[in-house]
Amino acid sequence: MNRLFVAIGNPLRGDDGVAWRVLDRLRLSGDRLHLHQLTPEVAAEIAPYAEVVFLDADVEAEVPVVEPVGDATAASAFTHHVSPAAVVRAARLWFGFAGNAWLCRLPARDFEPVVPSSEVQLLR
């Protein structure tokens, strides 16, 4: 499987870095990208892949949730950082991305620069 994992977050800000740490421990095969935030040019980078999995911290997630990335229906402001949906939409429209895209929302609570709490739960 031609697969790309994209972890989004700041590893110095507690649970915000949970996606990085989870990705580092995943044993699934695929290329890996660690980013502080999504930016428009990521659209070009995901385009060659058959499957893209975004991992991101989410304060609304009670448990890890994996769901398809929908097409961005409302026009995004598309400024310095963008949503997975906007990146996927741009990749499809401008760079010929024809694969599947998933978003893994990881529970996150504490964004202070301390040992993350959610990660302990997740990796247990």
Binding site: L35, H36, A75, A77, T79, A90, L93, W94
Partner: protein, 474 residues
């Protein structure tokens, strides 16, 4: 009874701000303020930390131009060590400065400003974004992304990370440039030059098309400041600070950036977290000066590279002695992107760029260090004082966007007077006020050393201080 209009948040800029427009009893705009409403305080965070940590810490000020903060901070560290930085490290710092100019300007022009320029200032807000641009011209949108991607790829290829790299240090940098990166970048240059030719052609047509916006979005004489080299070209890494006035007359031919505090001063106002720097000899606020792409081209006499020189000559013909219309920041940004591509091509042709001799080592030898460089938005200063153990006792950061603060406020007022009709508010009017701000590509996260995006709020306020109308965008 007069009224106040507030735009909050201002959109498609970096950071949080709002604009207040004051309206008099006759319904005319009689004042405007650009408020920056966020604060982080890196100058305080630095206190008590070792100066060797400063490049890594200061990189965190900004996700768009961390390289500039790393370089200014590293240069201040060079001064504290009292060392001469190896040539290979200087070449590397210059390379990443140009890569950052490329990616940051691509973001500003293609992603943030081109929706207004391509689709029109009165286009529906839901269309005024990069998706709307792509619906009109997918190749143009794609080219913008590819250019930014190239700049980011060079930064990542050299440092291992595209944002907040652990790369710059007092005395040099941490590693050598990988040889394979040179081949990768050189292979992409023809495509990049072609994309720039196309973008410049469009920008020149827009510069001819939007006469009212050119006249009404920050068109006034002011000082312009920027670092120039001995050849008269902008020097993004080093050089002396030159100031010219609105007629292009040289006010100061070559000030030492390490003595910036002798000729630049910052003033605080109670209604904004962003300070108001000014040129001391002219006082406050007459010492208002602009920095950044347009100002760099106003103080320079050439660009120092073939393609950019051609565009430089053409751009300078849009003004008298100096080009004072802030709308032309857009065009100046493109000229600088061309120059950055050409300089990077030259740098990759220098075999010493790949040298591993990139660090000078020493103990602490000075108590005060000042580093400067040209960030994408203008000249940047980092100034540290340390104790005998190398712990920072004082830090002052003079940021490009703050240096444009007086000019941005003047621009907002001019744009409001020109385009906003308080008794018949329309979204396109307010968008022109925002677009006037976007000419400067302000980064409020940097300038207040603060956090976040830049949404904008616009409020209409009467003479009694009551808010009569409010427009807010997320």
């Amino acid at each position: 009874m007069s009224t106040r209009i507030t735009i909050q948040p201002v959109t498609r800029i970096e950071g949080h701000a709002k604009v207040t427009l004051h309206v008099d009893e006759d319904g005319a705009i009689n004042g405007a303020q650009f408020h920056v409403i966020e604060f982080r305080g890196f100058e305080k965070i630095a206190l008590g930390r070792p100066f060797t940590e400063m490049p890594g810490l200061m990189a965190r000020i900004c996700g768009i131009c961390p390289i500039s903060h790393i370089i200014a901070s590293s240069k201040a560290g060079d001064m504290l060590l009292g060392v001469r930085t190896p040539r290979a490290a200087v070449l590397q710092r210059r390379l990443l400065t140009d890569a950052q100019i490329l990616q940051s300007h691509a973001l500003s022009f293609f992603h943030l400003s081109s929706p207004d320029l391509l689709l029109g200032f009165d286009a529906p807000p839901s269309k005024r974004n990069l998706f709307g641009v792509a619906e009109t011209d997918v190749e143009f949108a794609r080219a913008g992304i590819r250019l930014r991607q190239l700049g980011q790829r060079i930064i990542e290829g050299v440092t291992g990370k595209r944002v907040h790299p652990n790369w710059g240090i007092p005395g040099g940098v941490l590693g050598a440039v990988p040889g394979e990166l040179r081949d990768e970048v050189l292979a992409r240059l023809p495509e990049s030059y072609a994309a720039m030719d196309d973008a410049l052609g469009r920008a020149k047509r827009w510069a001819d098309q939007y006469a009212p916006e050119i006249e009404g979005m920050g068109n006034f004489p002011s000082l312009h400041a920027g670092l120039v080299g001995a050849d008269g070209a902008p020097d993004y890494y080093d050089g002396k600070l030159r100031l010219v006035d609105g007629d292009g007359n040289v006010v100061a031919p070559g000030l030492d950036p390490r003595r910036y505090f002798e000729y630049l001063e910052e003033r605080a106002e109670p209604w904004s977290y962003m300070k108001f720097p000014f040129y001391k000899p002219l006082g406050y606020p007459n010492g208002m000066y602009r920095v950044g792409p347009l100002s760099r081209l106003n103080v320079a006499t050439c660009m120092g590279t073939e393609r950019a020189d051609r565009e430089f000559v053409e751009l300078r013909q849009r003004g008298g002695g100096a080009v004072n219309a802030s709308f032309h920041y857009h065009l100046a940004r493109l000229v600088e992107m061309v120059g950055a591509l050409e300089r990077m091509e030259r740098l990759f042709a220098d075999p010493e760029l790949l040298s591993a001799d990139v660090r000078s080592r020493a103990m602490l030898n000075e108590e005060e260090g000042i580093g400067s460089c040209e960030a994408p938005r203008g000249v940047l200063f980092h100034h540290y004082k340390v104790d005998g153990n190398g712990l920072v006792t004082s830090a002052n950061l003079l940021i490009a966007t703050a240096q444009n603060n007086l000019a941005i406020n003047r621009t907002v007022e001019q744009a409001a007077r020109r385009f906003v009709k308080p008794d018949a508010l329309q979204e396109g009017m307010l968008n022109r006020v925002e677009a006037a701000i976007r000419c400067y590509d302000p980064c409020l996260s940097c300038s207040t050393h603060a956090l976040g995006q830049m949404p904008l709020v616009l409020e209409l306020v009467g003479p009694d201080g009551t808010v009569r109308d409010r427009l807010q965008r997320e």
